[in-house]
Symmetry: D2
């Protein structure tokens, strides 16, 4: 694995490194951790990389790695830069023959995402988007339960992603994570919805297997001076007739990272909360609610494959994140052996460029709807 972005002090770069390394099957072999070559080398040294494998320019890294003999170059590249660089880096990597892992959202805008989808299709290479929350075992179980029909036809979906960390104008204080997220030139058309709203959209579609047909969104920027949305409420209509609500926020004071989902069908409902991710509550019309727990023998195959520990030994954010890498790496490994996993194989269960296109279409639809005073808008995915 080679990494682009994610130098010393970067949050998401560290997450990707821990997640990728958790199962002992992926090794960081090179990086363009910073556009400053010295800083990039210093970051690389923190992770025991020799200076020759640390680059100050991502183009240079991709090109030099491509020039190394097979077996000595990285097998794939991971992109953990601000959003505006996702597309050019991914394009360059794919065009030089490298599989790609990229942090979400996929690109800066929808046009780029569609172009990237074409490049992925053309090159035939693998692309994973780290919608990490779908890596939780009980999210996979929820998806399997909906697909099994146990809830009946889905009627209602409520998905929320409240945070409170941007309740004040943190982006003006030098806080690095806040600064680029609040900058339209780096973040894209949306702030809160590019950062967390798209996770909510992805989670809802992943679990229900339903696509958002149209939406009506009301975005706000509550903190004075902020240029992008920091909160928004969205009405949802899904293909097939289900309806729902999605709301996301970075000004819900006192909330941490409270992504959660409820789905109701004709026969039952389910509830999952990211802050206690090892529990999935199933609710039924006329019998007691059931509390499903990660690691238990009664769970299905996809949840079990995503679990490392026995029940009662909590797995968290990093382990879920690592599941995206684990499945992606299994897919890469199969390719290295000249195989392609079967469609239901866990190795195929990671977010791909199609999810990225849907995410960007969602973001653009939300922004467009909000600008039209919450007019119903169809995501153009």
């Amino acid at each position: 694995m080679g990494m682009i972005g994610g130098g010393r002090g970067a949050f998401i770069g560290a997450v990707h490194r821990m997640a990728a390394g958790l199962d002992g099957r992926i090794e960081l072999v090179c990086g363009a951790f910073s556009s400053d070559p010295v800083r990039s080398r210093e970051s690389g040294a923190d992770w025991f990389l020799p200076p020759g494998h640390c680059y100050g320019d991502w183009r240079e890294m991709i090109e030099k790695e491509a020039a190394r003999p097979a077996g000595e170059r990285m097998d794939f590249v991971t992109i953990v830069t601000p959003n505006h660089l996702h597309f050019p880096v991914a394009k360059h990597a794919l065009e030089h023959g490298f599989h790609v892992v990229c942090d979400k959202p996929a690109t800066f805008d929808l046009a780029e995402a569609k172009e990237l989808q074409r490049i992925v299709a053309r090159t035939g290479l693998l692309y994973a988007l780290t919608h990490n929350y779908t890596g939780y075992p009980l999210v996979k179980e929820a998806r399997a339960l909906v697909a099994s029909g146990k809830l009946g036809r889905i009627r209602k979906v409520v998905v929320e992603y409240p945070q409170g960390w941007l309740s004040t104008r943190l982006e003006e204080t030098g806080q690095k994570q806040a600064a680029w997220r609040a900058d339209p030139a780096k973040s894209g058309a949306a702030g809160c919805f590019g950062d967390v709203g798209t996770h909510a959209e992805n989670l809802a579609e992943y679990v229900t297997g339903l696509r958002i047909r149209e939406l009506a969104a009301d975005l706000s920027s509550f903190v004075p001076g902020r240029r992008l949305d920091d909160d928004g409420n969205v009405l949802l209509r899904f293909e097939g007739g289900a309806k729902g609500v999605l709301h996301a926020s970075q000004i819900s004071a006192g909330e941490e990272n409270n992504l959660n989902l409820r789905v109701y069908g004709e026969l039952g409902g389910l509830e999952w909360r990211q802050q206690e991710p090892n529990t999935l509550v199933m609710k039924w019309l006329d019998r007691p609610a059931e509390v499903l727990r990660a690691g238990q023998g009664y769970l299905g195959g996809s949840a079990t494959a995503a679990t490392r520990l026995p029940a009662g030994h909590p797995e968290g954010f990093l382990e879920a994140f690592a599941n995206v890498y684990r499945n992606f790496a299994a897919h890469v490994g199969a390719r290295l052996e000249g195989r392609e996993p079967a469609p239901g194989d866990p190795a195929m269960d990671y977010p791909k460029i199609a999810d990225g296109v849907r995410g960007m279409a969602f973001i653009e639809a939300v922004v467009a709807s909000s600008r039209a005073n919450a007019a119903w808008t169809v995501p153009d995915a």
Copy 2:
């Protein structure tokens, strides 16, 4: 207290009787429990009323009670009929000099509510609407905390009222509660939103002290054959700039009576859930969340006045309902003594006709907005 409606087997009539009687200060003295005089007398006998105080016609009851000498007639009438009778009964009672307690929603439609508001004003009599959820001590505490400014200016409100009991077409099975609620001739323009959506609206406005300025609603009738809404999602914009989401449902399979509210301001947030009503969580920007509990000495005056037991001795739905009666009865008692309580007196803290008008305006706005494909609509209160 005289009761209209609420004969044997009626759910809400029994609730009103237990709630009114809880503090030992209100006595049921007469009733028109059924339009069938025999059945009315039988119901009355269950509660030890002599036959002469049981009526088969509510007009007759109001008129005969009015004809009794002072001290022998009822002090006020409680209306627990289906919605379409709320207005004519209340009007008749007020015009015969009786204070009124009425179950929600106030009337069948907004025009009636406004007319009733005029009658209340004209007669100078007291009118209480049993938006019982505002009777919970921690709802009162939440209101006081918002009013104190501790959360700062309010930015976001999320209020939910999911139930699942109408997930199937229960109204066709002879279930009495379901049957009239699903009948537009008895229920009014809305089903789920007349029944529970209006509680959510009332709770949000009571706690925040803010009024809904406009809303965009998407109602559904998921159960085939149902004539009124059984689910709906609403975007909210409040006076003063706060925004929010309200959703209510009677087809959220497996949910019981899960009314809940979250409010976020610049400095903190709060969360309250009706199914665990003795807990109020306060969330803060940079210190630990606090768990406030009913009965504790640190609560404010309105919460304390609404509490009968020490902390840890759970009070529930009936006790909260009884608080509406307790405060109303204190107001009636003051009137009997020729006094009027001061504005901040607990005796004034019960929902009044203005809340009823707002509730009906909310219901009509929701229905109108939904018919206009979720167009922004201003409640006409």
Copy 3:
């Protein structure tokens, strides 16, 4: 109902009045609320009792009521005095032909309890002990589930009753509830264990249907100057081989009234917590835990008979307390009609003098064991 004790400002008297009156079937008709006749009359006036039905002496009340014609006198007497008066009052009432309801613990000491048991047997009258926590619907469901064998043979029982309100020397501040509880002359041999430990014992035995065979107790008085225990930890061995732990405390700072019970059998376990009494969790060896909820149709007969409201409408402490009265009143009513309910009839499901004897034997065994440095001690019930 006539009441002895429980004048103005008394906590438990008010609870008994609200609980007895909740279902509209029991009326307070007389009382000896205080040994001061003026104060007794003032208290009675609060509840609309005429002066002639308010007594300053409990002997006088019992005797005068007994002298009234049938139909004009009270049907039973309720005793809500400090512990040392339970026995003489109950004895006098029974010997004058009155059924008795008494707050727990039954008596001042075990000898009195056994004597009272003989008096009850001899008079053939009814006696209810308000171990109110067994009145919760889900406690009844738990008992039924254990009895059904669904958990298999019981192996382990954990029952806790932590409170924190006596963490400081409250009894020296004039706080009335604390003062008599801390006084051995009024409270009996135990403080915390007479007050709340005995509730824990009763709950564990009620739910499991098992009797404590022997125990080893370590009591403490943590607050300097306190004469009775304010905390204690007890090892339990039950008849039939189950084992367990009981601990109770009034110095567990920050705890309110956190009575809770866990029972584990060969096949599953259950968990119930008084502060969220409408939920019962059932745990299973190899399937998801189930969350049973009050008011749901899947509950058994005894739970359903103890429920007034639909699921999701929380019932609390008063409603559970009222269930003791409701069942007792049904038994009294049957007696008035010359009937005796069948053994499984809900009218028989209230704590009786045998529970009182067991409770006093438990208290004396705990105190004796603790004095013997936690030697195993057999309750002499």
Copy 4:
């Protein structure tokens, strides 16, 4: 790091590898994963170890590694064998100059533990015992809060470790984890108490800073045919006067890994539960309970140093386990640089041989007390 035990399919070996590797600072360089050299090599190959670094005999590994030049040999050895091998392996490693990490309990019996303590002292090498639950950030916060005096003098401690996985005779089914734990020759004098009871003891002493002065234990073997305890209840008396209860179980049907701790002092209490490890509840005498959350800025230094992610991004069992390794590795690193960390340095915050001796003394005291019918017994640490 070299590993002894923990070959393919072993649970705890995999945990140690993931935990040690999480921060990218510890590399597995050799192992004696099995006493079968072929199997050991196969296991090693799974983790990319060359055959020459995979041994079939732990003595051979220690000796051959010791013979390698500095810089090429392992820096420390990790022992993840069944209990009976802990002592001989640790002894051999220390005597060949290697620092040691060992799974708990430290040894097979107390005599070995004391002997090991002498060897550690004599060699001056580092020894870490993976009482991993003390690695959770909020356990460290709890310890810091107690030490700060905010709870006042500690009065009561309740610590529980219920599991249910040995509710049936799993050890007879070929389940490897169950088999050796149930075998006195491999497990030691205790079953459940050697496995999980000692974690509970360690947690209670770590958080409170208090030592158990004496205990009275009642152990059971509920499952027919089982030779070691599968459940036990213990009364605790701490130095300084606090008292408490410890119970542990592997037959609490339906429980997963429900280690939890409550501590009460004069001024407040705290509660922590391993299955939701990112939350610590602080309870106070006269103000609302506070919910402390991992990753928040208000936490103290030791909790913060043990956290990798922002609040709301759950960290779990592996991350806590990794904290033992992280601190131990920092200590080893300091030694390699010729430094010794200061006493309060996080690098010193990991369980050491003294904890191991206390744990073994606890186990032996529990067994001895139970054999003497719960006689008070002083742990001989």
